[in-house]
């Protein structure tokens, strides 16, 4: 509690009878890199905008350093934002963009010059002062947006999917750079993304959200290794998610077999969700595996192969550096700590997305017409 900087208390938000935030509670520590992670429409951006002061919660309170700031307008908050689409001032050059906040704070001119120059060096764009912002590439504009925010030395930097518009390669470089900038300037970063890899790479703390509710808060390792429910498990990485039944403490049945596991405290025969990570399934000879199935597809992913192995009860996604040909029969083994047991939750309505197994449509016809 000693270094708690921001607290959201029962923040509830609704537009037109549509609940966007469902009474969330969250505190953010000083100097941590916290990521709000979730699919579009989960409320993560709304949460960020409430902290930035651009939206006021319908009910609930926001505290900053112990002081309630619900009614403090954005320009009086010691928080700066990097907007999703940069939102640079197109009528000013790079220098004036970065100097904007300093000029408003009436910082002396030579101090402004010094700080802008230093900050442009920090974001790896030294000498760009006189450039027009419209002439910059996406990655450069992104870095000017960051410079414009951090030059004011805010206590908190809010970042709203800042890398969404960049190429994959550039995005990975910027991830490293953002983390480095955060460590150098030593301030709190609150980061919004829908990219779970981004979240894992950069964060000290991840807040997984869905449909206006916080699903889980924890370190990347917590979230990945101990997802609290099927949604988190599925969102934070590829997973095999099955229905199962807890026979007794440490014993679970799923996929037609009974396994030892590490979980207890469920009632007898309680239905549960069982999650197994694809990289935790080990390929064995058919005789040695706890499960036995046919390789249905193999995709080369670089570091590993990704296979779908169809067992009588369930098609398992398996990641392995070993190659097995399509059609081959293999065994799969798994240890008790590879099995994650979760209480059943009401499954949130998924967005309409393809489910590979319900696909039974035939072709719209053969290729008959002549060229």
């Amino acid at each position: 509690m000693s270094n708690e900087l921001i607290r959201l208390k029962n923040c509830f938000m609704a537009f037109d009878n549509h609940v966007v935030l469902n009474s969330i509670n969250l505190y953010i520590k000083d100097r941590e890199f916290l990521t709000l992670l979730g699919p579009s429409g989960c409320g993560k951006t709304t949460t960020l905008r409430i902290i930035g002061g651009f939206q006021t919660p319908t009910s609930g309170d926001v505290f900053f350093d112990g002081v309630r700031i619900n009614d403090v307008p954005p320009h009086k908050r010691r928080v700066n934002t990097v907007f999703q689409k940069y939102a640079l001032f197109s009528h000013m050059n790079v220098f004036e963009n970065v100097a904007f906040g300093l000029r408003i704070a009436k910082v002396p001119e030579d101090e402004i010059k010094k700080r802008v120059t230093e900050t442009l060096r920090l974001v790896n764009l030294p000498g760009f002062e006189k450039r027009s912002v419209n002439s910059l590439s996406g990655g450069q504009q992104q870095r000017i947006a960051i410079a414009r925010a951090i030059v004011n030395r805010p206590q908190v930097l809010l970042l709203d999917e800042p890398l969404g518009a960049l190429d994959l390669k550039l995005r990975k470089d910027m991830q490293i750079e953002l983390k480095k900038i955060q460590q150098q300037v030593g301030i709190t970063f609150i980061y919004v993304t829908h990219d779970q890899e981004e979240a894992l790479t950069m964060s000290d703390t991840i807040v997984v959200m869905n449909q206006g509710n916080i699903q889980q808060i924890g370190t990347p390792t917590d979230i990945y290794n101990e997802p609290k429910n099927a949604f988190v498990a599925d969102f934070i990485g590829e997973s095999n998610i099955m229905s199962g039944v807890m026979r007794e403490d440490y014993v679970v049945t799923f996929s037609g077999h009974t396994f030892r596991c590490l979980d207890k405290g469920f009632s007898t025969n309680e239905p549960v969700d069982v999650v197994v990570r694809p990289e935790d399934l080990r390929i064995e000879s058919p005789e040695n595996g706890a499960l036995r199935g046919i390789v249905e597809s193999v995709v080369f992913k670089g570091v590993h192969y990704e296979m779908i192995v169809r067992t009588p009860a369930f098609p398992f996604l398996v990641q392995s550096t070993l190659y097995r040909a399509v059609g081959q029969e293999i065994g799969l083994s798994l240890t008790p700590d590879d099995i994650h047991i979760m209480r059943k939750t009401k499954q949130p309505d998924a967005q309409i997305a393809p489910s590979p197994d319900t696909q039974a449509a035939s072709l719209p016809g053969s290729q008959a017409e002549g060229a």
């Binding site: 954005p74 320009h75 009086k76 907007f83 689409k85 939102a87 640079l88 904007f100 408003i104 004011n152």
Partner: protein, 270 residues
């Protein structure tokens, strides 16, 4: 490719259609009634210096008032919901659907010494004012008729300013006033410039307004030109010359203003 080949003669033809009358006007201005080349139409121009001055002054004031009234309205509207915007636009455009003469005439009866306006003043216990047949009445008429041309371009530019640009300025510590001065206003300048152009040009050369509301007391350029074409004097050559000179002055004004607008932010005519 062959599409372009079709387009070229078409564009040329259109250019002739557009430009021929303009050239004719120039020819008119430089010829006498007999058709001979002459500079006489221009040499006598100085005698109309008063009318020129008056016209430009009134047009300037009308434009200024349109800007002062129209900008805040455009600004407020651009931030309203789509429904409010739509309704407001209908209101703003409504007078345009009515005959120009008619709406100017309505103002005549509002501004009369015993008209609606003075009756309102009396009702409020204020002294009445003499407006009709003064320059003030002419300016009011201009403002009423040309205000939509100021509001629309400013509105459409402000409407397009990205909401997040404004939020970024707030985020960086700018209060409402600073956001406006440093972000919204500079970004809306193109709309302001086109609004000024669209009000000033017709205001300089209007003739109906001054006739009805100015009572023919002060002649404006529009009246002078009309008199050459439709009136008793009937001298299209002089009329063309006056129009040409007016056009040149207007263009110079606009060019100067645009130059300012491109320079430092805030250095515009305001």
């Amino acid at each position: 490719m062959h599409k372009k080949a079709l387009a070229v003669p078409y564009i040329v033809w259109m250019a002739i259609f557009v430009v021929a009358p303009l050239i004719l006007v120039v020819i008119y201005a430089f010829t006498s009634k007999a058709g001979a080349f002459t500079l006489e139409n221009f040499s006598g121009m100085l005698q109309y210096a008063g009318i020129f001055g008056n016209s430009f002054l009134l047009a300037f004031f009308a434009t200024l008032i349109c800007l002062v009234i129209g900008y805040p309205l455009a600004y407020v509207l651009a931030r309203e919901s789509a429904t409010v915007r739509k309704i407001a636009m209908i209101f703003i455009m409504l007078p345009m659907w009515m005959n120009f003469l008619l709406r100017t005439y309505a103002w005549m009866s509002i501004l009369e010494d015993t008209g609606l306006f003075n009756r309102l003043l009396s009702f409020l216990g204020l002294p009445t004012v003499h407006l009709i047949n003064t320059n003030a009445a002419v300016v009011i008429g201009m403002v009423y008729n040309f205000l939509p041309f100021m509001i629309l371009p400013i509105f459409s530019v402000i409407e397009k300013i990205d909401r997040s640009t404004i939020e970024a300025a707030q985020d960086l510590g700018a209060n409402g006033m600073v956001v406006f001065r440093r972000v919204i206003f500079p970004l809306s300048l193109p709309g302001v410039l086109s609004g000024i152009t669209m009000v000033f040009i017709p205001a300089v050369s209007t003739f109906v307004i001054s006739k009805l509301l100015g009572g023919g007391m002060t002649w404006l350029l529009g009246d002078l030109i009309e008199n050459q074409f439709l009136g008793n004097v009937y001298n299209p050559h002089l009329g063309s010359a006056i129009s040409l000179v007016m056009m040149v002055i207007v263009m110079v004004c606009m060019a100067v203003m645009n130059r300012f607008g491109e320079g430092e932010e805030g250095a515009v005519v305001l």
